[in-house]
Amino acid sequence: MADEYNQNNNQNNQQRKAIDVTKPRSAPPPQSNIDASRVSAYTLREQQSLEKLKKQVGNLNHKENKASLIKTIVAIILVVLLIILAVVFVIIIGRGSSVEEEVVDMRLSVQIENKSTLSIITETGEEKLREIHPGDRVPLRASVRNSMDIRGDAALEGTEPPAIYVRFKLVLVLGYEERYDIMKPTMHDVWYKYDAETEEKFGTNGMSFDDHYYYLKTALPFTDARELFSAILFDGNVLTCDDGGKYGQIQVHVECIEADINNIISRTFWPTAPQGWVSYMLSEWSGGSVSSSN
């Protein structure tokens, strides 16, 4: 009895294995024996409208797929354009100039001197940073020049690069924080710094504020240099015990624009520049005195 059962079972398994699942199975015969004449006209109409809706959806899908394809092509074109622009940017930045800069040929260089005053040589010959105490005056000197090289560019034949307006910012990065209040630079009276009281005399223009920049009160002709500062005082009244022991970095950022009075009056450039400086430059320009002293 058991052998007969196993034999049948094996046969069934063999039958199951013989089924080709890749081919669609034929639809099973209708189980209902309802006469077709008994299907109502209403049901037929429903079936027809369903078929119609399917066709509509199919058409819609077709149209949308077509539109989608077009949009995809447009997007690909835009991405390619973007990549081309980015490559052009990288090439230009890598060269350190732009097409417009080459046309204008503005030149600028800056250098901090006496950096060695911030370090000491230990007895073992190792160089390490010297600790700065509150109230220390460090003889760091920095200068700017209207040339590509801080030592000056060779004289050019033909068109000379233009004079420039210069501004600079002195910042102490202390523990990831930018501090403008600690360092007091020693400088000549050729730099203009925002002062709230002075600004009041010129009326608020809604754009000027203390942007921490020092603005040069004259234009700087080609190859001329100007001292930014000759020493830095670390203000003992500002430094606190919380600042003590921290590493920092002194940064000098210098910017220039072409020395055209319209550039600063229109505030196309340096919109936050003090109104007092703009007025001063305008009065100097009206007087026709564009300094070119070194």
């Binding site: 835009l78 911030l118 700065i132 009244n237």
Partner: protein
């Protein structure tokens, strides 16, 4: 229902595609605008150098005892007299062993000048016996302390920082600001402020203090008295010697100037 779902999916897809195209177009337009505007006419250069700021000054209050070998053992305290009943009354004598240490193993200190003062503070007791909080400003004119054992005169110089040269007229409104300044002798035997170095300990008071009976008035009636021990350290670098140059520097509120004025 399925048709509706498909339609929704299609709409979403269309919206996404539109957004991508618009975003790309905006980026390209911005790039073109930026690259063609005057922003290119600004040239920027920078230079930088590194530095390190000196360590801060750190000072800690200590109470000290004498060890079996006769050595002085300082224990850093946050609350002096924490082992005492620190509510005192006129006539009470309080034994103090107060000192200080410059820096610690975790927080080393820069070299510093040190000044110290002991004040007797008081706070009013309310009707229900609850003390009112003491404001530090209220303590400035209190001279209620009498030292039965003065701080070592060879080591501490008493200076009125409001009148370092004793020139002001001492009327009823005058408020002195007495501090003991850590001092030493220079090569010529003159008093100068002593530079306290990292890890050094100093003794300030070793003896008894009590309330000044002459300074106690009716306004101190129904008050709770407290001892206030204040130590201050200031970096010695770039600060004028407070003993040698009275009136100069931050402790005198730059009465006559700062270190460059001394040197000038």
């Amino acid at each position: 229902m399925i048709a509706q779902k498909q339609q929704n999916n299609l709409n979403k897809k269309i919206q996404m595609q539109n957004m991508i195209i618009i975003a790309l177009a905006i980026v390209i337009i911005v790039l073109i605008v930026v690259s063609s505007t005057a922003a290119w006419y600004i040239r920027t250069k920078s230079d930088s150098t590194d530095l390190i700021l000196s360590r801060p000054v750190n000072i800690y209050i200590t109470e000290y005892t004498t060890g079996q070998g006769g050595e002085t053992i300082h224990t850093v305290k946050k609350d002096i007299l924490e082992d005492y009943d620190n509510r005192i009354y006129p006539g009470d004598r309080v034994k103090l062993n107060l000192g200080m240490v410059i820096g610690s193993a975790d927080d080393p200190s820069s070299n510093a000048f040190v000044r110290v003062k002991l004040q007797m503070a008081f706070s009013k007791l309310g009707d229900n016996g609850v003390e009112e909080p003491i404001a530090m400003e209220d303590l400035r004119d209190q001279r209620l302390i009498e030292y039965q054992n003065e701080p070592d005169g060879e080591m501490w110089e008493l200076i009125d920082f409001n009148d370092p040269e004793g020139k002001l007229e001492k009327n009823a409104d005058y408020v002195p600001d007495y501090w003991y300044v850590l001092k030493t002798k220079d090569a010529y035997g003159n008093d100068i402020a002593r530079e306290a170095l990292d890890g050094q300990t100093f003794e300030f008071v070793n003896g008894f203090i009590k309330l000044s009976k002459t300074e106690i008035t009716n306004k101190h009636a129904n008050c709770s008295f407290h001892i206030l021990y204040v130590v201050e350290a200031i970096q010695s670098k770039n600060v004028p010697d407070p003993v040698k140059y009275p009136g100069y520097g931050p402790w005198y509120n730059f009465m006559y100037g700062d270190v460059e004025d001394v040197q000038g």
